[in-house]
């Protein structure tokens, strides 16, 4: 049969689109990771003050950026869902959260592993570190709320409300190094330019793009699963299930 089942609803067409895009994004992420790591480990020079330890930067900064960026995107999807009651937005929000939590964890972990040799402590309770920890708690709280509510529609909206209130934490994380004097360093990349060697900067940015593509790929795969679950009574999902 050559019926185009995907024509009929937004989730249906997005299901197809996400399925087609995911592998491309995954490959892009892999490729960028290889390039980024090569630059980071074999081309980028040793740092004048931190020596080789600075190479944690190639994972710490991308992870820290993504942890905040994913939260913002998730909150934006949640807001759109609440405002226009679009099912797909909530599904996107749900698909993003686990990866956001994962990157938050990675940022915390790599930060701790970097802080021990450089600062002399695994952990201090300064504003940057504390607010990032709160970000992890927020991610976990939102996911726990989703898990606790059986009715998907209620769960969507409840989680979205929480995500929105928590969004205020993101600017706090970002600006904490300016507002308070922290042990964490200030921004190396400012609107006025960067205070990093070009090769180091290139490696870091490429790794950040890799993390971005990875996030997109994983979110696409996850949102496909969520769409199937939500739309399981529709004809097109039945068709997909039969052919799968």
């Amino acid at each position: 049969m050559s019926i185009n089942w995907y024509k009929f609803s937004a989730p249906a067409s997005f299901y197809g689109l996400a399925g087609r895009l995911a592998p491309w994004f995954a490959w892009a992420a892999a490729l960028l990771t290889v390039v980024g790591l090569y630059l980071g480990f074999f081309v980028a020079p040793t740092d004048f003050q931190q020596g080789e330890a600075y190479r944690v930067i190639f994972i710490h900064v991308p992870a820290a950026w993504m942890s905040m960026f994913i939260y913002l995107v998730m909150a934006a999807w949640a807001a759109i869902g609440l405002a226009f009651n679009t099912r797909l937005s909530f599904m996107m929000a749900r698909a993003l959260a686990p990866t956001g939590a994962m990157f938050t964890f990675v940022a915390l972990w790599t930060g701790a592993f970097w802080g021990k040799p450089m600062w002399g402590a695994w952990w201090v309770w300064d504003a940057r570190l504390t607010s990032e920890l709160i970000l992890l708690f927020l991610y976990v709280g939102i996911m726990a709320l989703w898990a606790a509510i059986d009715d998907p529609r209620r769960g969507d909206k409840a989680g979205a409300l929480l995500a929105l209130i928590g969004a205020i934490n993101v600017p706090i994380i970002y600006f904490s190094v300016q507002w308070w004097n922290t042990l964490h360093q200030g921004s190396s990349i400012k609107p006025t330019g960067s205070s990093m060697d070009e090769v180091m900067l290139a490696g870091m940015l490429i790794m950040a793009f890799a993390a971005w593509f990875y996030t997109a790929a994983v979110a696409f795969v996850r949102v496909r699963r969520i769409i199937l679950e939500r739309e399981r009574h529709t004809e097109w999902v039945k068709h997909v299930l039969e052919s799968a």
Binding site: T46, D47, Q50, M118, W119, G120, A127, L183, Q185, S188
Partner: protein
């Protein structure tokens, strides 16, 4: 009350609330709220008395001295305006260097010497190869000599 009036009232209250928030936050950032105190603040008596706190600043060049046991160190923390002598017994972080940033936790003795229980390194946001750093240093020195001349 008509619903239009209600709406106006709500907006008015919201604006007033935001105004108060802004004022309070600004007020807070004008006061001190810090992870560590600078030597100037300590000199001005803003730091806690009779208890542990953190000081932060640069390690003054040429001030670092090690005792014979190899663990106890003395150095001076400066923010270019004021200075505080510090003693510390323990392992220093790798980034701890003269001329670089540090944050030390401990308490200020009556003799004005700060006894630290923990010393952390605070580095800046510059990342570059040593050659570049060296070149930069040279350039700065050259400039400094130019200015002096």
């Amino acid at each position: 009350m008509k619903s239009r009036h209600k709406k106006l009232l709500a907006i008015g209250l919201a604006v007033a609330g935001l105004g108060i928030i802004a004022a309070l936050v600004l007020n807070a950032f004008q006061s001190n709220l810090v992870f560590f105190f600078s030597p100037t603040q300590v000199a001005a008596g803003e730091a806690p008395s009779g208890r542990a706190f953190r000081i932060g600043g640069l390690v003054e060049s040429g001030s670092l001295k090690r005792e014979a046991d190899g663990l106890t160190v003395h150095f001076v923390v400066t923010d270019t305006a004021k200075t505080i002598p510090v003693t510390y017994k323990g392992i220093l972080p790798d980034l701890f260097k003269e001329g670089k940033g540090t944050v030390a936790e401990g308490s200020l003795g009556t003799d004005g010497v700060f006894t630290a229980t923990q010393v952390l390194a605070k580095h800046d946001e510059n990342y570059m190869p040593p050659e570049a750093a060296h070149a930069l240093e040279q350039a700065q020195k050259a400039q400094a000599t130019v200015v002096q001349q």
